[in-house]
């Protein structure tokens, strides 16, 4: 199983030889013989910041999900490490692209009611309803602070 021995890394260590930069002549030369990826220049990549307790609390509060454990925090560090490699790319003066349909006009439809009378359907998946209302417990109460320990080293190494 060839997949088992492939060790893929985004930091490609194959240096780009001059010959692979130019189109090659001759048979089967259109498909490169060796990987063509650029080496990652670590001096251009920001360091991964420490994920401190304050950051953990903040992210958990805005996300309304928990890290659960140290492994969760390490996975965030890894994701940031990957994302930092984007800084290898020069994007000076490049407009951010939000949609592939940006060159098209968003059409407006007629301002007419096209559906409705679907109260039962809308309520049908709610676990709790009272007299055609969704039910929520009392609101605007901050989450209880929990004593959590994601391990001795919760600074994201």
């Amino acid at each position: 199983m060839d997949a088992c021995c492939s060790n893929v890394s985004l930091t490609c260590h194959h240096s780009i030889s001059r010959s692979t930069m130019r189109p090659l002549e001759g048979k089967q030369a259109r498909v490169p013989k060796t990987p063509i990826w650029e080496e990652v220049d670590h001096t251009r990549i920001p360091n991964v910041p420490q994920i401190d307790q304050e950051m953990i609390n903040h992210l958990e509060r805005v996300s309304l999900v928990e890290f659960n454990n140290q492994a969760g925090i390490e996975r965030l560090s890894k994701a940031i490490e990957s994302a930092n490699k984007l800084h290898m790319v020069n994007t000076d003066g490049i407009e951010p692209m939000e949609s592939v349909l940006e060159d098209r006009m968003l059409y407006l439809r007629e301002d007419k009611v096209t559906d409705g009378k679907c109260k039962q359907e809308v309520l049908s998946n709610a676990v709790k309803t009272i007299e055609d209302y969704f039910v929520a417990p009392p609101g605007n109460i901050p989450l209880k602070t929990k004593e959590r320990d994601y391990g001795s080293n919760s600074n994201g190494s």
Binding site: D2, A3, C4, L10, E121, V135, P142
Partner: protein
Amino acid sequence: MLSLTLKEAVHKLRDGSITAKDLCEKCIERLNKTQQLNAFITETVDISRDSAAETDKRRQKSKPMRWRKLEGLPIAVKDNFCTTGIRTSCATTMLQNYIPPYTATVVQRLQDEGAYLIGKTNMDEFAMGSGSVDGIHGPVRNPWKYKFTSSNTSEQTKPIEQVSMRNYHTSTDDWHIAGGSSGGSAAAVASGVCFGALGSDTGGSTRNPAAYCGVVGFKPTYGMLSRHGLVPLVNSMDVPALFSKTVDDASILFNVMAGHDVHDSTTVTDEFNHFTLPDNIDIKDLHIGIPKEYHAPGLSKDVHNAWEEAADMFEKAGAKVTQVSLPHTQYSILCYIVLNCCEVASNMARYDGIEFGHRAANEDSTEELYAATRHEGFNDVVRDRILAGNYFLLRQNYEKYFAKAMQVRRLISEDFKKVYASGVDILLTPTTLTTAPTYKWFTERDNRTSSEEQDIFTQPVNMAGVPAISVPSKLSTDGLPIGLQFIGQNFKDKELLTIAKWYEQQVQFKQLDLDYLDTVS
């Protein structure tokens, strides 16, 4: 009967040489015989039988009724497309009891033309994954080289409560993953349970499992197929996509579904011109581009050879084949990860337990209820992406990550535009680095690492919105299918499919044949 293509099956149903009932029973039998693949989350056998009976009745009516384009045809639908009255779980605890009151537009259009649903297929939770191993119903198994055992072929899927992630199949030999996240749909088509299936494709979730399971996987141009009723993952990249045995079959399904939908403002309003693909295809004036950056670290020898052979094949037939450059390819996956997490963080905010979906028992406060619901409802992968997305979106990080990724996205999109503007018609690349990995190998790494590797060649396409198709090429030295990817230009879906069909005609890939299962009782 199950080795027919969709086109042939539709034809035989129309001319009466097979009845819808017979076909339906055959498919259900195969569904039962391939239970071990775990391709389905919900089977809709009763609906199938009723629909097939309905089709046969239509024929017998004294006054002939319109014979619809897909009359009597069973299809499978990934479990993230809403289906009225049928559970749509997204393979997550959060939606395990969700019964949609409406049907996704693409599913509706297939049904309006006489196709019926044989079941909802298994996937990664919320389509976040590339192996179809990260759903609450356990992993999908690739039917290729799979050793079916007759003893428990009729074994029912275990109740959800008893299934915990990643320890579902522990006792048997290792097997190959189906790829993901639409692995159930790919496995269903590859194993002959149905003639076509819907998947979704955000970063390769249809093309990747299509390549691993030896079937065609087509992701149309963004804006051609309605997303209404598709549970959103990354709105700016999600595209309904389809699986079939042949390119013609993909074209037939696409033509039934394509076109503007008032319920999805991201479908384009241009009139859709229906098409059929020619049988005699001339590629003499064609210019095929080979993007050199698609030789990435980790590309297996078998896949590399298949890619070279395909390039030669086109050249021998008179097409112009040149090496081209898409310089930002290697950064695309990083860009994809950031944008994916950010949109996920936003999209997942809707799941709070109040209006629909799982609701935790904690009634202390709205905030506690939300937190408990989301804690219980999401797996680690979903939680990781929400947390990472919210990190990238923090005020102090917004420019550094989110805006930066959107800038890189433009560069990736422009890479495609430039290469097409230079005269290239179609790009030819591998779909995946390797053939289907084994489950054991795949689950040794975490979801994020896997996605970085698995989506390498597929997600740049979603960045640019362009159409792409994975076509089975040949078998590797160890007997697993290899898929090659053709990438077309925006809204030139027909041209893309036509070239893919020419390639398919040349390679004559032999579909997996599981007919031997019919003799096992």
